[in-house]
C-alpha cells in the first residue's frame, strides 16, 4: 500500500506492507541513519521519533498509521544545516559517546522542553527514564537538557 507523510518537513511517498513498522520504513526504505534499532520492543528509546509532535517508538508504530502525518527525526531539528540550540548543548556537554541513544535522547528532550520549558530535575529524569544509554552515565545528558531549559 502507498502511504504519504511529511518526513522532516518533506513530503514522501512510499510503498509499505501493512505489517511494516515505521522504523523499518525509515531505515530500510528511506535510508535514514539517525533512527536506530535497539531492542525492537519499546524498551530502549533508540528508535524514537516525533509523530505530529508526539514521542513514538518507531519500532512499535505501524508505518501505515503515519499516513498524512508529520514525522520528525533528529535530523529535522536542524535549520540550514545548523544544529538547534538543544543539539548544541548536547555537543558542548559531551552528551554523546557512541551516539546510538543520542537521537532518541535529543527528541525526548525536545518534546519535554516544548511542553515544559523549565522542567525540574525530577521532570527531566522522568522524561529520560524510557531511554537507555550505556556510555555517558546520563550525567552529561541531564546537564545538556538543563542548560537548554529556560532558567
Amino acid at each position: 500500500m502507498m502511504i504519504r507523510f511529511y518526513l522532516d518537513g518533506q513530503l514522501v511517498e512510499v510503498d509499505v506492507k501493512p505489517t511494516d513498522t515505521l522504523l523499518k520504513v525509515l531505515v530500510d526504505k528511506l535510508g535514514l541513519t539517525s533512527v536506530h534499532y535497539g531492542c525492537g520492543e519499546g524498551s530502549c528509546g533508540a528508535c524514537m521519533v516525533l509523530v505530529d509532535d508526539k514521542l513514538r517508538y518507531s519500532c512499535l508504530t505501524f508505518a501505515a498509521s503515519v499516513n498524512d502525518k508529520k514525522v520528525t527525526t533528529v535530523a529535522g531539528l536542524l535549520s540550514d544545516h545548523e544544529l538547534s540550540p538543544l543539539q548544541k548543548k548536547f555537543v558542548e556537554n559531551n552528551a554523546a559517546q557512541c551516539g546510538y541513544c543520542t537521537p532518541g535522547m535529543v527528541l525526548v528532550a525536545k518534546a519535554l522542553l516544548d511542553k515544559n520549558p523549565s522542567p525540574s530535575d525530577e521532570e527531566i529524569f522522568d522524561a529520560l527514564a524510557g531511554n537507555l544509554c550505556r556510555c555517558t552515565g546520563y550525567v552529561p545528558i541531564v546537564k545538556a537538557v538543563k542548560s537548554a531549559a529556560r532558567r
Binding site: C39, E41, S43, C44, N94, A96, Q97, C98, G99, E122, I124, F125, D126, L128, A129, G130, N131, L132, R134, C135, T136, G137, Y138, V139, P140, I141, V142
Partner: protein, 332 residues
C-alpha cells in the same frame, strides 16, 4: 524495618596494554595537498574519543591545527597493523605510534621550512601553527603551507610512519615474575548507600571517585569515561545479570525489561576527580582509563551495603531478594 545507611571504599590498580606478543600498534600519517593531515589507524572510535585524542597528539607535535587533522579508522585494509581497541590500550599504544609518525612529519616540515625561510632547521621552532626562525619575530610560515610546498615545490612525499610495541615478556620459571603490561593506573571509589530492610532495595546516594590516569590528554573525555564507568559499574553491582533470576531458564533475562540498566533517575551525585602522575612509557604520560573506571564501583557498593546491614553480599548483582535472604540468615 528501617532504612540503613552505609559507606564503603574500594581501590584499584589497573594495567594498560596486554602481553600479546608485544601488543603492537602501527600508524601512517599522510599529508593532503592543502597541508591537512590524515592519520590512518586500525584502532576504532566507539565513542571513547580516540579520534579526538590522536588528532590532539598529532597536532601537538606537527603544529598542524587540530581541526585540520582527520583520524580515519575502521578500515584495516587502508591502515597499517594494530592489535585492536581493547584492554584500555588505544591512547597509550596508538598514541605512542602517532607520536613517532608525527615526529617524521615534523622533521619534513622543519627541513622544508628551512629552505623556504633560508635558515638552518636547528634554528626553527613550531608554535601556533607556524614555523618561526627562533628569536626573529617577522620570519615565519604557516605549517600547512610548508606541507603543501614540500609536495608541490620540493617533491617530498609528506608521510609519517610510526609504531609502538612492547617486547613480549615471558615468565621467569624460578620466580614466576614477568612484566606483562606497560604501566599501572590507580583509582579509589567511595560509595554511600541506603538499604531498605523491608524491601531489600539498595539506593546509591553519593559516589566520590578519584582516578590517577597519568595524563588526561582530553580532560572532558576522561571525565566522561569516569562517569560512564561508574554508572555501568552501578548496574553490574545492583541490577544487571544475564543469568536466570530463578533456577530455571524460563526466568532468564531476554530483554531490557529483565536486564535492568540504570536510567537517568537512578544516578547518584557523583564527585569525580582526576589525578595526573605521568608514566614514562605513555604518550605525554597518559595511561589507559576505559576499563578501570567500571571496576572499582561494585566493590565499593558491596562494602557500603556491608557497612549498612552488617552482611557481606558475595555475588552480584545485589538484588533485593539477596539482601532480604542475607538479613534473614544473619537474624537481623
Amino acid at each position: 524495618m528501617a532504612k540503613l545507611r552505609g559507606r564503603g571504599i574500594a581501590a584499584i590498580n589497573y594495567p594498560t596494554g596486554m602481553n600479546l606478543g608485544g601488543d603492537p600498534s602501527q600508524v601512517v600519517i599522510v599529508a593532503q595537498p592543502d597541508g591537512r593531515l590524515v592519520v590512518n589507524v586500525a584502532s576504532v572510535e566507539l565513542g571513547q574519543g580516540i579520534k579526538t585524542v590522536l588528532a590532539q597528539i598529532a597536532s601537538e607535535i606537527t603544529g598542524v591545527p587540530v581541526e585540520d587533522i582527520e583520524v580515519r579508522f575502521g578500515d584495516t585494509e587502508s591502515a597499517p597493523h594494530d592489535t585492536g581497541t581493547f584492554a584500555s590500550r588505544s591512547t597509550h599504544r596508538m598514541g605512542n605510534a602517532v607520536i613517532k609518525a608525527s615526529e617524521e612529519i615534523r622533521e619534513i616540515v622543519l627541513n622544508t621550512a628551512a629552505k623556504m625561510l633560508e635558515a638552518s632547521p636547528n634554528d626553527l621552532e613550531i608554535r601556533e601553527g607556524r614555523v618561526w626562525v627562533k628569536g626573529v619575530t617577522d620570519k615565519s610560515v604557516e605549517v600547512k603551507q610548508v606541507i603543501s610546498q614540500a609536495q608541490f615545490t620540493y617533491n617530498t612525499p609528506v608521510v609519517g610512519k610510526g609504531f609502538y610495541v612492547k617486547p613480549k615478556s615471558s615468565v621467569d620459571p624460578e620466580t614466576g615474575a614477568s612484566d606483562p603490561h606497560s604501566t599501572m593506573a590507580h583509582g579509589c571509589t567511595v560509595a554511600e548507600v541506603e538499604v531498605d530492610t523491608e524491601t531489600g532495595f539498595v539506593t546509591v546516594l553519593k559516589v566520590y571517585t578519584v582516578y590517577e590516569v597519568g595524563k588526561a590528554i582530553n580532560p572532558q573525555l576522561v571525565e566522561s569515561q569516569i562517569i560512564g564507568g561508574i554508572v555501568m559499574g552501578m548496574g553490574a553491582a545492583l541490577t544487571e545479570t544475564v543469568y536466570p533470576r530463578y533456577p530455571v531458564l524460563d526466568f532468564q533475562t531476554t530483554s531490557f525489561r529483565d536486564y535492568v540498566l540504570p536510567t537517568a533517575g537512578d544516578i547518584p551525585e557523583i564527585v569525580a576527580k582526576i589525578v595526573e602522575s605521568p608514566t614514562p612509557t605513555g604518550p605525554f604520560g597518559a595511561k589507559g582509563v576505559g576499563e578501570m573506571v567500571v571496576n572499582s564501583i561494585a566493590p565499593a557498593i558491596v562494602n557500603a551495603v556491608y557497612d549498612a546491614i552488617g552482611v557481606q553480599i558475595t555475588d552480584l548483582p545485589i538484588t533485593p531478594e539477596k539482601v532480604l535472604k542475607a538479613l534473614k540468615k544473619s537474624g537481623r
